[in-house]
């Protein structure tokens, strides 16, 4: 377990040294909320109606934007090779890396989402549903995204390929996530949606680390 925290500490330290990795997804997230009303319609009633979907799509794309970097620098400077020849459990290491990635992307997006909700006139009774659905949904996005990142890390330009690989798998999370917020704004119970999001998260947490390790081995061994 102390190895897990050591790996997390290293990744968080690296993220704070290269602040771009933290700021980029958040800036992207905010820009969508700023530009969307300008491009479509600034009318409050209309915006309130589309806000759940827009915020969730923006969070999903922001997460996708940052997931490519999760193994990239480790691959480029040889750290990934050292991880693969280490006797430490790789699954734990990978889980630590994904968790730190979530802390600097998904977690921050969830914390920032009330601001976007206000900009898009989301009814205040939907706020809780929005934050909790993002907190439960974005870790799944990081886990699935990391499989794609692992598979494409050996390619010079994996950016587009990773979207193609990962986006179809993001769709169920998007549907349940946006559904939670939709239900929340209408004052309906959200327990069922949250249970589904949690179930997807638990399954991904159990299976994705093994898939990520296998993907990394394929990428490095060629």
């Amino acid at each position: 377990m102390s190895f897990f925290f050591a790996a997390m500490k290293r990744d968080l330290l690296l993220a704070f040294r290269y602040r771009n990795d933290i700021v980029n997804p958040l800036a992207f997230f905010l820009m969508v909320a700023v530009l969307f009303p300008l491009g479509v319609s600034p009318e409050a009633k209309f915006l309130a109606q589309v806000a759940p979907g827009v915020i969730w799509v923006a969070a999903l794309l922001a997460s996708l934007l940052s997931v490519d970097s999760i193994f990239r620098t480790d691959f480029d400077d040889g750290s990934l090779e050292q991880m693969l020849v280490s006797p430490q459990p790789l699954v734990l290491l990978v889980l630590a890396k994904v968790f730190s990635h979530w802390l600097i992307s998904g977690f921050c997006l969830a914390l920032m989402s009330p601001l976007l909700a206000m900009m898009l006139f989301l009814p205040s009774q939907g706020l809780f549903a929005l934050v909790i659905s993002l907190l439960l949904g974005t870790p799944t996005l990081s886990l699935i995204g990391a499989i794609g990142a692992g598979l494409t890390v050996g390619l010079r330009k994996g950016g587009i390929l990773i979207s193609l690989l990962v986006l179809p798998l993001y769709i169920p999370v998007l549907i349940f996530g946006a559904g939670t917020v939709q239900a929340g704004t209408m004052g309906m119970p959200i327990g069922g949606y949250l249970a589904l999001l949690s179930a997807v998260l638990v399954v991904c947490m159990m299976l994705a680390p093994f898939a990520i390790v296998a993907a990394l081995k394929i990428s490095v061994r060629g």
Partner: protein, 208 residues
């Protein structure tokens, strides 16, 4: 220690080596030679388990390496072309992480190792401000820390100055003298007592 039988590998429809057999035991240095592109790095990566796409068998302590993968990784130190040094971290943070990753890096403290590679006083500056040779030294500080019996080193002397090369040679000689084994690729003539060094030339494709 390590034994390789009938290794065959091809890249891009070019046979790199065929029927390669060799073994290394404690107290030996195995120097792998060959032209650029002759497969030296590929061979080392295959030995470490970092490259698939080969045929043949590799044994560690007389057991197939796949069966004893974890023991093997405990007993092995690999320093590749890429140093595995994070530019944004300081030498001290880099070594702390490397020691976490490989528990066999426990011979000295971080400060002692940094002093040995001549980076004393640089322990808390980010590595991207160091020169290429100094970054290489951060990676090679692992040699001083390592108590692993088998070292696999890919071009360990690149970017080092003459004094650095001499120090590393002395370190390799000492490691071998203490019962370790070293497999390395280099174009440089090693200043290590002859009887411990054996060569494999990949241009010929056969072991000697």
């Amino acid at each position: 220690m390590l034994e390789v039988k009938n290794l065959y590998c091809e890249r891009d429809e070019r046979v790199l080596f065929n029927g390669l057999c060799f073994s290394i035991s404690a107290g030996e240095v195995l120097q792998i030679e060959g032209q650029n592109g002759s497969g030296k790095t590929t061979l080392l990566r295959i030995l470490c388990g970092l490259s698939a796409g080969f045929e043949g068998e590799i044994f560690w302590q007389n057991q197939p390496v796949d069966d004893v993968r974890e023991d093997f990784h405990h007993a092995m130190l690999y320093v590749g072309h890429l140093a595995g040094v994070k530019a944004a971290l300081t030498p001290e943070e880099n070594l702390q992480w490397m020691m976490r990753l490989s528990p066999s890096l426990n011979k000295l403290s971080i400060y002692q190792a940094l002093e040995k590679v001549g980076l004393y006083g640089f322990e808390d500056v980010p590595c991207h401000t160091l020169s290429a040779g100094q970054q290489r030294r951060v990676g090679l500080a692992r040699l001083y820390l390592s108590s692993a019996p088998l070292w696999i080193l890919d071009e360990p002397f690149t970017a080092l100055d003459k004094k650095g090369v001499a120090e590393k040679e002395a370190l390799i000689a000492q490691h071998v003298h203490e019962g370790g084994a070293v497999i390395l690729t280099t174009h440089h003539d090693l200043a290590i007592p002859d009887k411990t060094v054996r060569n494999i030339n990949l241009d010929a494709g056969v072991s000697q």
